[in-house]
Subunit: 273 residues, 2 copies
Amino acid sequence: MTTPPLDAHPALAAAASAALEAYTVATAEHDRATLAAVVADGADGTPTMRIDVLVEQAILAALSRHPVNVLSEETGWVDRGSALTLVMDPVDGSANAAAGVPLAAFSAAVAEDGVFTEALTVWLDTGRSWWARAGEPSPLRTSGRTGLAGAAVSLLRPHPANPGAAAAWWEVARTAARIRILSTSCLEGALVAQGSTDAFADAATDTHRLVDLAASVVLAEAGGGAVRDVFGRPIGLDTDLTKRWSGVVAATPDLADELVTVLHDAYVAQRTG
Amino acid sequence: MTTPPLDAHPALAAAASAALEAYTVATAEHDRATLAAVVADGADGTPTMRIDVLVEQAILAALSRHPVNVLSEETGWVDRGSALTLVMDPVDGSANAAAGVPLAAFSAAVAEDGVFTEALTVWLDTGRSWWARAGEPSPLRTSGRTGLAGAAVSLLRPHPANPGAAAAWWEVARTAARIRILSTSCLEGALVAQGSTDAFADAATDTHRLVDLAASVVLAEAGGGAVRDVFGRPIGLDTDLTKRWSGVVAATPDLADELVTVLHDAYVAQRTG
């Protein structure tokens, strides 16, 4: 797959191209300490690194010719009176990007009147991309796996200081055949959508923001998969970027449901037991 | 960095080029089930996938013009009466490769009269490479980090059914600032050598074979780092591929020593407590 796909929405394509160019220039011109320097607090409530700002600014400049609303990790909500909103993480996997671990992604979804209709994730280190439009045929195909036993699962890192979440993480590690932590939610979601891994989950730590999940909703569903929240909250357009989810992106609705049950039950048992 | 480096040993360069070409052809021509099919038991005692065989056979054919000994994951020890031995993993991260997770590497070290003198790791999905010769200046530079608190550490996946190893894994997760599981030991070792992550460890599961560690010894040391075994066993040329280590590749000797102590003590405390 190449970047950007020919039939992507022009605003989505323009944002992706700008991100890829800005990322390539930034990582060539700056050393790691410069890229990792915290320069602000983002609209999502987490620290903003310089690499995030450089890429987001390039995207916003490119979007000046495309009158869509933007919901982005650092800047937050930019209302331009459009029925379309780009929900976007300029650099997913910022810590990877700043350190030189070549696993970072641009990722965005188009929301039309609040519903996610199209998404594009671009692996910024190689230019490889994943695109889909809801309701249209797609080459994406998940693995089709329906059960956790034997599954390959990507997880966010464990948090031993949070007993409920630690128990949930460990329960998945006990049952799954493979565990990976790539530290880039959107790329891990794309790997589920293309069938290379069976699921990706935030093990009940409520770390996921909407920008970590929006593209995966479209991509995974296009491939036959499903996206859930461990605590049952709906995942839809919300302009408050401080909201959090514990997202589960899975190859099938059955696997998504099993992961939610396993994570939720282990979390609750530890908290109440 | 490009592949292969101009000043690499001709046998090492020939092996890497053959691996890259064979991997590219194999992943383009075969589907995932075909690549992942177990076709033999390797000399290292683990199952051999078709992707492993396809790449190893291409390498061995390329090495027919280079009269060095070979110690390789699947075929084992090929004695051609040379003072030089290529210690080689044709496809490190076979499970990633077969599934389409783009994190797999060719990795090999040259042993001269039993001592590792040169190494080359090639990321097969992009062609990017890391090369060094012992005792010569190198552009590789580790992060220089000396302590585990605040470190970014790559680990093999945890094994909850092994209480000692599980305790050791969890203790590192409790202390480190970042945890990754990329499922490709040689690439994770290269990322330590170039300073993108601070350490990589097998948390006392004795999963590492010599082919998982040989190249990292040369690359990490060229960048100022150090390689250890959690249980103090020396890591050197040994033609018995069923031997195992719990390797620690770290940015500095101090960090390597601390990781060995933390892992070893947590393992022993769980086993005896």
